[in-house]
Every structure is written in C-alpha cells, then in structure tokens.
Amino acid sequence: MTRGVPHFTNAFYVTAIATACFLLLFGVATIIYGTRNYDVQITQDTIIQGRILASAASAALAFDDKKIAQEYVDSLAFSPSVETAAIYDRAGKEFVHYTRTPGEMPPARVRRQTSNIAKDRVHVVVPVMEHGRSLGFVYLERLVEPVGRRFLRFGLIAILVSMSAIILATLAISQRALAIANTELARRADELTAANMELRVQSEEREKAEAALRQSQKMEAIGQLTGGVAHDFNNLLQIIIGSLGSLRRRSAGWDLGAEATRDFDRFLDGAEEGAGRAAALTRQLLAFSRRQPLQPESVEANRLVARMTSLLTRTLGETIAIETVLASGIWRVWTDPNQLESAILNLAVNARDAMPQGGKLTIETANAHIDDVYAARYEQLKAGQYVLIAVTDNGTGMDGATLAQAFEPFFTTKAGGHGTGLGLSQVYGFINQSGGHTKIYSEPGHGTTVKMYLPRALIVRPETEEHPAVPEWHAGPAGGETILVIEDEEKVRTASVEMLEELGYRVLESNDGPSALKLLQGNPGIDLVFTDVVLPGGMNGRELADEIRRVLPDIKVLYTTGYARNAIVHHGRLDPGVALISKPFSFAELAAKIRAVLESPNEIRGETVKR
C-alpha cells in the first residue's frame, strides 16, 4: 500500500553526505586559512609597527640622539604584545633597545629586513629609511597567540558544530523512524478498516439471510396453521353446501304456500351465498399455505395477460388506465393459469385500492435471470431462468413496516370489510408453490411494484385452448353406475352419498381403506372409486386407489380433499392423470366431475409423467 508519507530517497542521502563532506572540508580550509591569515596579519601588523618606529626614530638614529631614540622604543611598552624593540644603525649594530621582560636581549646584530614566526613570537626587522636613504634597522618582537590555543578555539567550535550535527542527525533518524512507524500504522489501520468493512458486509448479509429465513419460517408456520384451519373449514363447508344443495333440490316439490316459499328461498339463498364466500376464503387460505392443488400447464404469460386486460378494465373502473408492456420472445412458464390469473387480479385490486383518485396500472412481462448470489439470499429459490410479471401502480405506496408484513395473511391496511388480507398472501403462496419468487418494491407516495418470477417451462406442451369451464350438469342419471365413496368424516360422507344417489348412481360407502377393500371384494361391479385423500386406518386415498387398481385395473378414481397432501400432489402440483375435486364442491360440480371421469378414456389414466 503506498501512501503519502515522508520518504527519504537515495538521492537525498547522497546530497546530505556530500553537503556534510563539503562543509567539513570548508571548515578545515577555513581553519587553515584563518591560521595562515592570522600569521600573515600579525606579521604585517608588526612590520607596520616597526615602520612607524623606524620613521619616528629615523632622525634620532641619523644624528645619534640616543635619548630620543630610547624614548621612542620605550613608548612601545604601551603595546602589551611587544616583547622587545630595538634600533640598529646602518652597520647593524644596536643603537637602543627595550625589553618587557628583564634579562631578555634583542639580537646583537641585524643585517637585513626579515620576518618570521617562531616560539609564539613574531620577529621582524624593518629598515629605517628616510627619503630612500637607509639609516639603520628596527627590530620588533611581538607575542602571537599560540597555535595550540588557536586550534583549541577552533576545536571548541568544531565540537559545538559536531554536537549540533549529531543532534540534527538523531532528529532526522528519529523522524525517519517515526515516518516508517506511521506508514506501518496507517497500513494496519487500512487493513483493519478493510477487515471491519468485510465483517460488516458479511454481518449484514447474514442478517438479511437470517431475516429472510425467519420470514419464511414465519410464513411456513402461518401457512401450516391456516392450511389446517382451511382443511377443517372445507369439510364443514362441504357439509353445509352439500346440505343446502340437497335442501334446495328436495324443497322443489314441497308446498309451503307462497309466502313461506319466498322466505325459504330467500334464507336458502343467503345461506348458500355465505357458504360460497366462505369457500372462496378458504381457497385463498389454502393458496397462501401452498396446500392447494395446482394444475400446472405450459402457459404463455403474454397471452394470459392480454386475455385479462378487458376483465381488468371492467374491474378497476374508468379512472385507472391499464398499460401492458409485453416483451417479445417470452419463455413459457409452467404454472397453474387459474391461480396466475387470480394473482394478477389480486394485485390489480390492491393497486386500485392504492389509487383512490385514479392512476395508472402497468403490467410488464420480461425474461429474467436470477443469479446465484441473489438466489442464495432466499430459502428454496434456485438460480436460473425465470419469466417476470411485474404489476406496478403509481398509488400511495407502502412504508417499510407495512412492506415487511404485506405478504402475511389477514394483514390489511384497508378499512374493515374492504379486504380480507389474503390477496398478497395468495400471490406469495402460489408463486412459491410454483417454484418462483415474489418481490415487492414500494415507497410512500411513489407507488408499488410487485414482481413475480415464475420458472421457465422446461417441457413444451401446447397450452389448452381455453380452460375448460365446469361442464353443465347432465340432467338425469347417467346409467346407474356403481360408485364406492370412502370418506372418514361421516357427515361429509353422508352429504356426498346423498348427492350421488340423487344423481342416480348406485352408491356404496366406507370410512377407511381396509373396509373399502373388503366391500370391493363383495361387489365386483364398482365403476368408480370416490375417495378422500386423507384417510385413517393406515392407508391414504392414493394407496387405496393403487391397491384397488392392482385388482381392477380399469376402475376409475376421483379424489377429493380439503387440501392437497403429498399423496396426490408432488411439488405442489397435481400428478398428471389424477382426477381431483376440491372440497367444498357443489352438486353441479360433483355431477360434472363424476361424469367426466367415468367417460374419460382408460389409457391416460395412471399415466406418469416425470417433470
């Protein structure tokens, strides 16, 4: 990691050393020059002093005035560095002299002009000249500062300079060490920051995953609960609806009088309507709990959406514009078209309620790819190819808290009586059961988008032209076939038996598998087995049917159930070739389904298609 810390380069060190060497040499040169210069200077000074004396004393020397000459040399006592002074005549003989230290003597004789430094003294001899005429010589001896002392002085300076240099060097080195330490510290801090960041990201990922897991576990628990409730309700509703149907058909022949008949019909209508609405609710509960039996087909989403547009226009009203954005080349999806229509309808109704002043509803389709990273965040979601159906409104939107609970059953923000809280639950349950994925995006004031991802269909099978509507009930018995009814719930069984008998079939009944098999052995002419999927006695409907088929391969089987279980539903989908009528069913629905199964060709029955 490179950071902008002080960094000393090689060039810097070379420059610093070169500068230090230069300064050292310069210092030595300065000392030598200073010493030399001092010598020259002191000699020069002494010569000048000698010349002054020579000039002053020239006449005294010339005319042998010793007294005056002595005064001149004695005056040099005022110059403390002068040790000895003497005047010599032309022949070099001493004329007068002065010595500071008694006992010292000047040279007895001088011959010529000289100057030299020896023993810390400078000795000079200068001529006494007057107008170019040589009259004699002057000798001067002066003290000079000893070389040792001079060098000592320089030495002291050198020591001070050296100490300063050492302090500077120490500072520079410690600065450098500090810089290195800082760099290291910064690097470690960066590493820590990066590690911390990674930890935080991981922690956030984990939190998201845990939240998603918790949410799905919660949904699963709610699903099981609602599924159980729905199952029981369906059985009860089957009793109610069956009984009401029987009552209505039988009452046709009663003579109650006009007023009583009117009241009877009115109450019966009310009861049937209530039961119907209850049945619709339980269907939605089952859808959320993913317990509803799906009947998947290869569906082209664009066609389905296009087909729904007119229905949606009627349902949503004039204030809401519907726009569809359908991508071309959309893959087929493997799903239950009825449930997909319900899901879209539920979303459209929610959108309408979110746009009380009107607005725009957009339905988009697109091919989509869910990658591993995204898929890993959701339990049971697999990466791969999906078809996206997105329903968007520009309504009020939802805040975060609302969004978190949006899929939960019975959660609603609508005013009492305006919603069941099961719309989005149906969507969530259905899409999950189909192996898909649902995601809501919403912001208060900016509307809501619900994205439904459905897995791409891997088997291509022609879409059925139209979902076959429940055929009209064929009036009258259809030939007196024998039907074996197996149902553990007595009242439900009674209701079914009564309906079938009313339809003109011969009916046998049993409450569990083993007794049904016994019955079968004594009644070989049974044409159809109508069995509940969930049975007591250690044998479920599917196992019973398989056992019967072993003996009577051509026998027809119609299942019924309050909700689907693994017996006939795998991966949330009805096994192919299995006929099923969901509770609660009406007289007409049962009649039609029985007829359809009885008249179905034998060869497709029992066919097993592996997906």
């Binding site: 000039s55 002053a56 020239s58 006449a59 005294a60 010339a62 005319f63 042998d64 005035d65 010793k66 005056i68 005549d89 022949a91 003989k93 004329f95 007057e130 107008h131 170019g132 005429r133 009259l135």
Partner: protein, 183 residues
C-alpha cells in the same frame, strides 16, 4: 699602499669612529668631531625638502659645497662616496667663495666670522641649506655644536624659511635648542 686600499681603511676607520660615537658618544677629540660632521652633512639631506625647481632635471646632481677653508679633507670625500639623495647623485664642490650662481643645494661654510657672515648673506634667500659649526657669530640654517660630548644640531627655522627650505620635524626633534632660546 694603493690609494683605494688606503681609502677603504680610512672609511673603515671613519666607520669605526662613527660606531664609537654612536655606541659611546663621548668624542675623543676634534678629528672625530669633524668626521662625524662630515657624515652628518650627508645625513641631513633626507630631512630637508628643497623647492622643486632647484634641479633642472632629475639627473642633475646634488651639489654639496664646502666654502672657504675645508676642515674635512678626504674624510668628506670618503663619507660622500656613492651617496645620493633621491635620484640625484651627490657631488662635492670646494669653493673659495659663495655665490648663488654656484647652485649649491647644501653649503658648509667655514672660516672666520666675517667670511661666514658674507658667505651666508651671499646665498641668503636662495634655496641653499647653509651649515656652519661656529660657536659664535652668524650661523647657518644648521649649525653643528659640540656639547654633551657629542655633535649636536642647531636648526634656524627662520633661516630655513628664508631660504625656501622645509626642515623635517623629526630633525627639529633631535635638534639642540639654539642659544638664547632656552627657557
């Protein structure tokens, strides 16, 4: 003995006498005083400035004239051998009488008081350094007196000014006070 050898010995003797005089100023007799005076004549020139026009050219000689009775004899010649002042070689002229036409720069006048007086008057006001050794009577700008056992100089500054001469203060410093000037 060749004359030059004799001359050398005489110079050596004069030098020895001079040395003696310096180291021991006690004069042994009149002869030594004469020799000293001869040497002093030459030593005077550096301490006196003559007007620039006394020399027609730089190569002109410096004329040292002895007027009247020559008291020095050969000692003067010896002392003056090879002497010069500035660029001017010193030549020695011996004259009977003094006139400005002689163009002497230095004139030693010896003789009786009258002669001396006449001679001094003759060159008075001209750039001539007059030297006498009289104890009485008229004296030149420089007058040698023997006293305190040595030859001393008396300087007549008025006379020097009159003759357009400038005498160095150094010379005045070592000069003996003129008679009558003593405080």
């Amino acid at each position: 003995m060749p004359p030059n050898r004799a001359g050398f010995l005489l110079v050596a003797a004069a030098g020895a006498l001079a040395d003696l005089a310096v180291s021991c100023p006690v004069l042994a007799g009149p002869a030594q005083a004469r020799a000293l005076e001869a040497a002093y004549l030459f030593k005077l020139t550096p301490f006196v400035d003559w007007p620039a026009n006394v020399f027609a050219s730089p190569a002109d000689p410096f004329r040292l004239c002895v007027v009247g009775e020559d008291p020095f004899g050969a000692s003067l010649d010896l002392a003056g051998q090879g002497q010069s002042t500035g660029h001017h070689p010193i030549i020695i002229l011996r004259l009977k009488s003094a006139t400005p036409a002689d163009h002497c720069q230095l004139m030693f006048v010896a003789g009786d008081a009258q002669f001396v007086s006449q001679s001094l008057s003759a060159v008075s006001g001209t750039p001539v350094l007059t030297v006498t050794d009289g104890q009485t009577g008229d004296k030149g700008v420089v007058n040698f007196v023997v006293g305190e056992n040595r030859v001393q100089l008396q300087i007549d500054q008025q006379g020097a000014l009159k003759n357009h001469l400038s005498v160095s203060s150094k010379l005045l410093d070592v000069a003996a006070p003129p008679e009558g000037n003593a405080p």
